[in-house]
């Protein structure tokens, strides 16, 4: 077992454990923190699988953007400040049934396919190639994604603003 493999196992175990933790904890804030753990672990997995750019984006966007948004959401939607936002569970039995079944189906399907390829390094500089492909082959989706982000930003700002609602 190489070091890389060990790191892969560790990251994967962390990610899985964090995901299960999200499922089990009651405190929303704890769940948010566990989500950060999960996302960063996944970023480590992405690095190992030769997707450095994705890993960076993951950390920047998710850990830096989405998580901040979520934490703000938690803060703004807890009625009494200082008291932790605790959630209760519902539909536990059907939900666990659905989850277990879906996981089982996925695992069974994956196990039937031959994906046994050892991870190896891609030829050339991946980051360089990513930038070239992004600016050349995928420039249109890239621009559309930018516009999408802009629209989402404006929409989120307008939706959340109390100004608009007061005007109504």
């Amino acid at each position: 077992m190489s070091l890389i493999s060990l790191a892969l196992y560790i990251f994967e175990a962390l990610a899985g454990a964090a995901a299960l933790g999200i499922l089990l904890v009651r405190n929303v804030f704890h769940a948010a923190l566990l989500l950060i753990v999960c996302l960063i672990s996944l970023a480590g997995v992405f690095v190992i699988y030769n997707a450095e750019f994705i890993a960076v984006t993951q950390i920047l966007v998710y850990a830096g953007g989405v998580l901040v948004l979520i934490v703000f959401g938690i803060m703004l939607s807890s009625r009494i400040a200082g008291k932790p936002l605790v959630v209760t569970n519902q539909y536990v039995l059907p939900a666990s049934l659905a989850g277990i079944l879906s996981a089982g189906i996925l695992i069974k399907l994956f196990s039937e396919q031959p994906f046994a390829q050892q991870p190896g390094a891609l030829p050339g500089n991946p980051m360089n190639q990513t930038g070239i492909a992004l600016m050349r082959d995928y420039v249109l989706p890239f621009e559309i994604a930018g516009i999408l982000l802009l629209i989402a930003l404006i929409g989120a700002a307008v939706t959340a603003s109390s100004f608009y609602s007061k005007k109504q």
């Binding site: 929303v28 994705i54 953007g65 703004l76 390829q117 999408l148 929409g155 989120a156």
Partner: protein, 97 residues
């Protein structure tokens, strides 16, 4: 059988269960993020030796969309909370009848 695929399955199932089980809109969003990450993990895994990098870009756009979704979703959650004084999705049954 790859352990990464097992992880992705577990992530997906955990996200799904979170979405269904938790009585809080923010937790629902967290569950959705988990499911999206499970998809991203698969995309990256299957593209690990592909020089065309198409899986990577797919994952990239998924992240972008996830961000948008999170931003808009949280805005809606806040707006709903202001309006209904609750963030429990099942209590918002305005469209029932």
């Amino acid at each position: 059988m790859e352990h990464t695929l097992i992880l992705s399955s577990i992530l997906f199932a955990a996200g799904l269960m979170t979405v269904i089980v938790k009585r809080n809109a923010i937790m629902v969003l967290i569950g959705i993020e988990l499911m999206l990450n499970a998809a991203n993990l698969n995309l990256v895994f299957f593209n690990r030796n592909n020089p065309a990098l198409s899986g990577h870009f797919f994952a990239l756009f998924v992240i972008v969309v996830a961000v948008c979704e999170a931003a808009v979703g949280l805005a809606i959650v806040l707006r709903v909370y202001k309006y209904y004084q609750t963030s429990i999705p099942d209590q918002l049954t305005e469209l029932k009848d």
